[in-house]
């Protein structure tokens, strides 16, 4: 085993390391890592022998930061973890505080939360779809994905006040009532999305080159998926039931009809299909809820200073990437004693080495793309 500094020395003098293997650094600045992930890859020709992730380039120690923020303040920081599902992260934290304080969230707030969660999930999957297509070399889908995603961010901007790091959740509900245009714009979006999603299939899903790039690549067996703690679409692509919305329904997820998308192939294409189908499931969830938002309060009455009782609280939600756990240890003060975020990307990344050994470099990009890694989520 070598440390980073040694790697830099080795590569500067010779292209090969001591054992005649080619060592390349993918990242921290590399077009395919979507951020500052650093993978040290040992190659034999084009075949991958070992992958070693080096993390920490964007580690902000959010867990430590949260220890000095109050229960109202720490929610906004979590938007910066998995910035593509910022809303769902906030939701998890708000739920953790509500659980600790035993706050009853009004029905209206729950509906709004779930609709926005699902919109966030679609937006996140859209971006993933475009980025994956770009990883395997097709540029145009990226722009089509952003076109649809733009509609969602516009809706978010109008209702939440920001496009990416919304901070719309507060303990006890949401910060403000939905914008009067919200329902109409969401319905317009659903119409647009249903029209455009067929284009995705034409352009990418059915494409023979794309299918060949993803099929039988990065095989993750169900046993490994469980052992590596994979969750979300990665685990579901291997046929492991892991949807928190089904396992431990929160808010009004037990009142809506949707299917947990499962694929059994376990390869990159299965993970791809899971996400594409999930987008359609999310649309159906939104369709069920958008016309039925009950009247009432959007925020429960809460004290100005939140002081949860002594104890430990764990909440789980299903983000676009998988299971996000928020573990709060409270000592009865105004700030959490310890917070741990169990981020889905961290566990999913740990399976990367295992599933890409023996495949080609081109496959690695496809595998990484379908694991849907968001680096701030991994580093926190």
């Amino acid at each position: 085993m070598y440390t980073e500094t040694q790697i830099l020395k080795e590569t500067s003098t010779s292209l090969l390391n001591g054992e005649g293997e080619l060592v390349i650094n993918v990242g921290p600045q590399h077009p395919a890592t979507h951020g500052v992930l650093h993978l040290v890859i040992t190659l034999n020709g084009e075949t991958i022998k070992k992958i070693e992730p080096h993390l920490g380039y964007i580690h902000r120690s959010i867990e430590k930061m949260c220890e000095s923020l109050t229960y109202r303040q720490f929610i906004y920081v979590t938007s910066r973890m998995d910035y593509l599902s910022a809303h769902i992260n906030n939701h998890a934290c708000a739920m953790a505080v509500e659980k600790a304080m035993q706050i009853e969230v009004p029905q209206r707030a729950q509906y709004i939360r779930v609709i926005l969660d699902e919109l966030t999930r679609i937006a996140s999957h859209e971006l993933w779809w475009g980025a994956l297509a770009m990883d395997v070399g097709a540029f145009t889908p990226f722009f089509y994905a952003f076109r649809e995603r733009e509609t969602i961010t516009d809706i978010m901007e109008e209702t939440c006040g920001a496009r990416l790091t919304m901070n719309y959740m507060v303990p006890g509900g949401v910060m403000a009532d939905i914008h009067p245009n919200f329902q109409q714009r969401v319905k317009d979006f659903i119409k647009l999305f249903k029209k455009n999603v067929d284009e995705y299939d034409d352009l990418v899903t059915g494409n023979v080159i794309f299918q060949n790039r993803l099929k039988n690549v990065g095989y993750l067996s169900p046993e490994d998926a469980i052992s590596y703690g994979c969750s979300g679409p990665v685990a579901r692509g291997s046929g492991v039931k892991s949807d928190i919305r089904k396992i431990a329904p929160y808010d009004i997820y037990n009142q809506v009809q949707f299917d947990e998308v499962l694929e059994t192939a376990g390869d990159s294409f299965a993970r791809y299909l899971v996400r594409v189908k999930e987008m359609r499931q999310s649309i159906s969830i939104i369709e069920q809820l958008i016309d039925n938002i009950p009247e009432g309060e959007f925020q429960a009455k809460t004290k100005a200073v939140l002081k949860p009782p002594k104890g430990e609280f764990y909440t789980r939600v299903e983000t676009a990437r998988g299971e996000l756990g928020v573990y709060i240890v409270s000592e009865g003060g105004t700030t959490p004693y310890r917070i741990k975020f169990r981020s889905p990307g961290f566990s999913n990344l740990s399976a990367l080495d295992h599933i890409s050994r023996g495949s080609k470099i081109g496959d690695l990009m496809a595998t990484m793309g379908t694991l849907d890694l968001v680096i701030p989520d991994i580093d926190r």
């Binding site: 109202r72 906004y76 790091t165 507060v170 059915g206």
Partner: protein, 158 residues
């Protein structure tokens, strides 16, 4: 049949590729589908959403009066120490001392536009503005004082 499979493979592959080309070809021949905005050419017509959080502002009315009592609730609510409220003591006509706002210091460079200060404000003295063009050449220009020169608290705000 090997030959048959071979031919059907080639046919299916070619068909899927042509379907893809049809999609991109459609957009090539339909320039009306172009969605990009021509910023900053469209500055005059560009309308931000009313709730868009671009910066913290303190609205003043025509008498140069604001609604800030200097209670520092926003300062306490802020997660990044963006706001610093400096208070003074006003002497009311009855001769009673009363806490009032002296300077409302706002560090735009530290602000993450989370909106918690606006939530916390009991008198709605501050709100989020829509301006998003904040770039300046000197970082010190981002240090702002939100209350106007010579402004005072509006009558009746407690």
């Amino acid at each position: 049949m090997f030959i048959k499979d071979y031919i059907s493979d080639v046919y299916k592959a070619a068909k899927s590729l042509l379907t893809g080309m049809k999609t991109t070809g459609y957009y090539f021949t339909h320039p009306k589908e172009i969605v990009t905005e021509q910023y900053p050419d469209n500055r005059d017509t560009l309308k931000m959403a009313e709730r868009f959080r671009g910066e913290v502002i303190m609205p003043h009315d025509e008498n140069n009066e604001h609604a800030c009592t200097g209670c520092t609730a926003c300062e306490l609510a802020c997660p990044n120490a963006t706001i610093k409220v400096i208070t003074k003591f006003d002497i009311s006509p009855e001769g009673k001392k009363k806490k009032a706002l002296d300077t409302f210091v706002y560090h735009l460079e530290l602000c993450t536009m989370c909106g918690l200060c606006v939530e916390a404000c009991p008198t709605s003295a501050i709100k989020m503005g829509n301006n998003f063009e904040h770039s300046v050449f000197d970082r010190s220009k981002l240090l702002k004082t939100l209350n106007n020169e010579g402004s005072k608290i509006r009558e009746g705000v407690e």
